[in-house]
């Protein structure tokens, strides 16, 4: 269960999120909508624990009080952030980064298994054959960077997925893949918070949080 109580957040003294309350059970997905600047992404980053966000309130995932933990520790408790614009990281190749993520996920895969599963996924997602050897996102398009995020979700089953506009800028096949992934995550008891501007997908979800100026409209 995810329980968020009286969550407010400020950046450089400016309040962005104001008194948000959310309760989600295992297997539930919440669609977060709202205009640009309404605080959708900031809400996800606050839950993730971005260091420059000053947050108040409680965030609990099952029996873990996430709001007491730094960002990397929240990740190790199963919180997965799908970034809207993942950065380039020079000097770090993709497979080395996946291997490090694997280590903090209790070595879910052996090294050989990780390489083989990751390469299969990259191929399936239509990424170049040498993707795993490339420096992380360096020179990659926005769509390729999002596919990198998708592959990570597929490899390391998060308990709580924070998806920041995962469907924007992707071709139809990959968009379909995202929604299959959300269904599968919910099917195994995971919880998903999905930010999207796409009006078409609103009919797919009954749980909707609409934000305006950082507050909940519904």
């Amino acid at each position: 269960m995810l329980k968020i109580e009286n969550l407010s957040a400020s950046i450089s003294g400016k309040k962005i999120i104001d008194n948000i309350n959310i309760t989600l059970n295992a297997g539930e997905c919440l669609l977060i909508t709202g205009q640009n600047g309404s605080g959708k992404s900031t809400l996800l980053h606050t839950i993730m624990g971005r260091p420059d966000i000053e947050a108040e309130g409680k965030i609990r995932l099952n029996d873990i009080m996430l709001s007491n933990l730094p960002c990397h520790a929240r990740s190790r408790e199963g919180v997965f952030m799908f970034h809207q614009t993942p950065p380039e990281i020079t000097g770090v190749n993709t497979m080395t980064l996946l291997n490090e993520i694997n280590k903090v996920n209790d070595n879910k895969y052996t090294r050989g298994n990780l390489i083989s599963q990751a390469n299969d996924l990259f191929l399936h997602l239509g990424l170049p054959t040498d993707w795993s050897k490339r420096q992380f996102n360096v020179g990659a398009s926005g769509g390729e960077r999002k596919k990198n995020e998708l592959a990570q979700i597929e490899l390391f089953d998060g308990k709580l997925l924070l998806l920041d506009e995962p469907d924007s800028g992707l071709e139809q096949t990959s968009r379909r893949y995202i929604f299959e992934l959300i269904d599968r995550t919910c099917g195994r008891g995971g919880i998903v918070l999905l930010v999207s501007h796409d009006k078409d997908i609103q009919s797919k979800y009954s749980n909707i949080l609409e934000l305006k100026n950082g507050s909940s409209l519904r």
Binding site: N93, T96, I101
Partner: protein, 154 residues
């Protein structure tokens, strides 16, 4: 025009007190000449001279990692002659802790009708990159860079 070390007339490396130094081993197959220096303590210096053959182009990439109180002084001299357009030298340095890195790309251009480029970037990780890695559970950025530079070459 192929890019490989077969086009190199002279390649000269003078390294003093370098702890970990990785250079290309299959010189007739690589497309890009790449060097990596990893220094965890003490002072070291390295001088790399690359002189491609006439009508050939070379791309040289140098990674330098330093930590603790290590000091690295590195210069790469790349000669650019007739037909050497697109010749490029790029140095990327990561000075962690209180280490110091002095890195200089130098191009000796002997013909005015070439387009040659160079770059020299120094710095560790930007806050946005650190946050991204933290969202993946990684808080030891220094080890990640070091491991990745070693794995890339070995």
């Amino acid at each position: 025009m192929d890019l490989h070390l077969g086009n190199i007339n002279k390649l000269y490396v003078d390294a003093d007190n370098v702890q970990y130094y990785i250079a290309p081993s299959h010189t007739d197959e690589v497309q890009e000449i790449s060097f990596t220096f990893i220094q965890t303590e003490g002072k070291c210096s390295a001088s790399i001279v690359v002189e491609p053959m006439t009508n050939s182009k070379s791309k040289v990439k140098i990674n330098i990692f330093a930590e603790n109180n290590a000091e690295v002084d590195c210069v790469c001299k790349l000669y650019v002659d007739v037909g050497g357009s697109e010749t490029d030298v790029q140095i990327r340095s990561w000075p962690f802790d209180s280490s110091k890195i002095k890195a200089r790309p130098e191009m000796r251009i002997y013909n005015s009708d070439v387009v040659a480029t160079h770059g020299n970037a120094l710095g560790t990780l930007k806050p946005q990159e650190q946050y991204y890695l933290a969202t993946k559970g990684i808080d030891n950025y220094k080890e990640l860079i070091k491991t990745s530079l070693l794995h890339e070459k070995l």
